[in-house]
C-alpha cells in the first residue's frame, strides 16, 4: 500500500496543477463556444475568437500524458521504467500537437 502513496500524491498534484493551468483554457473554451454559436460565421470577429483554440488541446494532452506515466508508475512501482515506456506515447502526443497547431 505504501508504494501507492507516491503515485497518489503525484496524481493529486497533477489535478491541482492542471486545474490552475486550465482556468484560462476553460475561459477560451467558453469564448470559442460562444463564437461558434453567436458570431456570424466566417466574419472577422468569428475568426479572431476562434484563433488559438488549439491551446485547449495542448492542455488536455499534456495532462493526459503526465497521468499515463503516473498510472504506469502506480501499477508497476517502477517510475524510471514508466518514463522509459512513455517515449513512444510522447511521440504520438507530439504528432497530435503538431496536427492541432496546423489546424488552428
Amino acid at each position: 500500500m505504501e508504494e501507492l502513496i507516491g503515485p497518489a500524491l503525484a496524481g493529486l498534484a497533477l489535478v491541482v496543477c492542471a486545474t490552475a493551468v486550465g482556468i484560462p483554457m476553460i475561459r477560451k473554451l467558453v469564448m470559442v463556444h460562444e463564437a461558434r454559436h453567436e458570431l456570424r460565421y466566417g466574419s472577422a470577429g468569428f475568426l479572431r475568437n476562434l484563433a488559438g483554440w488549439s491551446v485547449i488541446g495542448f492542455w488536455l494532452l499534456a495532462t493526459w500524458f503526465a497521468a499515463t506515466i503516473i498510472g504506469d508508475w502506480g501499477q508497476t512501482g517502477d517510475l524510471d521504467g514508466a518514463i522509459a515506456r512513455s517515449w513512444l506515447r510522447l511521440q504520438i502526443v507530439l504528432e497530435i500537437v503538431a496536427a492541432l497547431a496546423q489546424a488552428d
Partner: protein
Amino acid sequence: MQSADVIQKELQCSQCAGQRVYDPAQQCLVCDSCGTPERLETPDDHKAEAEFPYDPNAGGEDPRTTDAQVVHHCEACGGDVVFVGASLSERCAYCDGPVVLRQGDSAFETMALIPYRVTRDTAQAAAEAWVGKRFAAPGDLAGIVARARVAGIYVPFWTFDSDEAVEYWASYTVRRGKRTSRRRTSGQMQVSFNDLLVPASPHVTPLIRDGILHEFDPRRLRPFRPGYIAGFAAEQHHQTVAEGLAANEADKDLLMRNKIKRDVGKSGVRDIRYHTHTSGIHYRRILLPVWILHYTYAGRAKKVVVCGIDGRAYGERPFSVWKLAGYSALVSAATVLFGLAWGAGGLL
C-alpha cells in the same frame, strides 16, 4: 439633417398638434397625445438601396453639413449623439456617462437607415436572456443586468463593396511518412466583397457587429427622415470614405488571409503575403438601430447590445473565476483519471 422647423413639422401630429415618436411595434410615427399613427413610407423608398462609387485616386469627399442642432457630447467616452425633437436622456447612450450640450456639429449626411423593428421591452428581454445563458458567469450577474435599462440609438455604419484581384504567396506543410517539410506556393484569385458592414463609430466594435448583425438586407433601407429617429438618439457620420475604408483594413486583411488559406487548400498554410488591386468600390453611409444596455460589474463598465432589426443580442460579459476553476477541476480530474487508467492498463 433638415432644419429644425421642417423636423418639428414632421414630428407634429396632424390631428392634435401633439409630439410624435417612432413606434417600432407599429412601424410608424405615433402621436404621444392622441395615438394617431402615420406611416413614413414613400414610393421612392427603394432608392435608399443605392450605392455610391468611390475612386480613391480621384480624391474629393462629400461636403460636410453643419447644422444648428444641439449635440449631446459625452465627457466620458467622447460620443456625440443628437436627438430629433425632445432630448431623451442626459446620459450617454454609449457608456451611460454624463453629457454636456454643445451647438452645431459638422457631419456627413446620412444616406439611409433601417428603422427599428424591435421594441424596448423585447430588447430588454433579449439582453437579459443573453446574459442568463452565459456559461461560467458570476451568480449575481443576472440580477445586476435586470436592474439596468436599454437605450435606443442609431449607430453610423458603412457598407462597402469592392472587387479584389489578388496575387498571393504562401507556404504549407507536406508530410512524407514521418517527415514533414514546407513547400512554397503562389496563386491568383478574384474576391468580391459585398455589403461589408463597418462601424463608423468607435463605440461599436467589430466584434459586437459580428454578434448582432448576421444578415444585412439592403431592401430594408429607407431614405433618411427625421421621423424615423424621433424617440431615439442618433450618432452622426463623421468619417470620410477614406477613413471608413482605413477602419476596415484590419478586418479585410483577416478575411483575405482566410480566403487565401482556403484557396491554397493544404494543411498548415503559413507565411501568407499578398498584393491586391482593388476596384469597384461602392459605399453607403447608413444608420442602423441598436439597443444598448449598460451595466457595471466589479467596477468595470460593460454593455450588451441588441440589434434593433431582429433582436439578436451580443455583448461584454464577466467570468466567475471560481466557476472557471470548478469546470477546470472537473475536466482536469476526468482527464487525469483517463490517463491513470490508460497508464495502469499498460496501453501503448
